[in-house]
Symmetry: none
């Protein structure tokens, strides 16, 4: 069982950090920006193209910074730095999943209707 | 099931080591530097060009030395010594992956549009 949290960015060697060693989001963010050479880019209010997210134990991808710090520390599974393309890809895959579920639903309803 | 851990470096014969026989990162690092004739180069604070990484059981490439030693011993799948070129290649492949995903998306959107 890992106590450290993996930090991943496509195309870079991943890192492991102890989130409990940081006091707040600002400290965490600065340390991770420094590790990946992204100084000032993860928390850029103008939007730098990078999305700073985490995956919780329920396997849900969430934006880092929304939750109260202590809650984040308790539920973070791994941290990821997503590029614009990956965010866009995520949305595309989500749409495909929804569309295929919708199609299955329609077909399911039709065949069920046929049985009546 | 292997109990020993493979250590690989492109262009060299790989080695197998028992990570549990070492007490800490310093010991492991020295032994591996010695095996591959890289004395003083894997842990060079000035950056020697070599990246000392491992692949964990989740298939993620991570920097050796971030995790507490006992956790590293428990989750290391294999160890790799990457050259600057390989690190650069990894980042290039990451970019290609992202770009091809973006292109597929654009084409997908276009062909879907065509079907309308």
């Amino acid at each position: 069982m890992r106590t450290y949290t993996k930090v991943q960015k496509t195309g870079s060697v991943g890192r492991s950090i102890d989130v409990t060693s940081f006091k707040n989001y600002e400290e965490l963010c600065s340390a991770i920006e420094c590790m990946f050479g992204l100084e000032g880019l993860l928390n850029d209010p103008r939007g730098s193209g990078w999305k700073f997210v985490y995956v919780d134990y329920g396997n849900v991808v969430l934006l880092v910074g929304d939750d109260p710090w202590e809650e984040f520390v308790g539920c973070v599974g791994c941290i990821r730095i997503l590029s614009t393309t990956e965010v866009w890809q995520m949305s595309e895959e989500g749409m495909k999943l929804l569309n295929s579920a919708a199609m299955q639903g329609i077909n399911g309803t039709m065949s069920e209707g046929g049985r009546l």
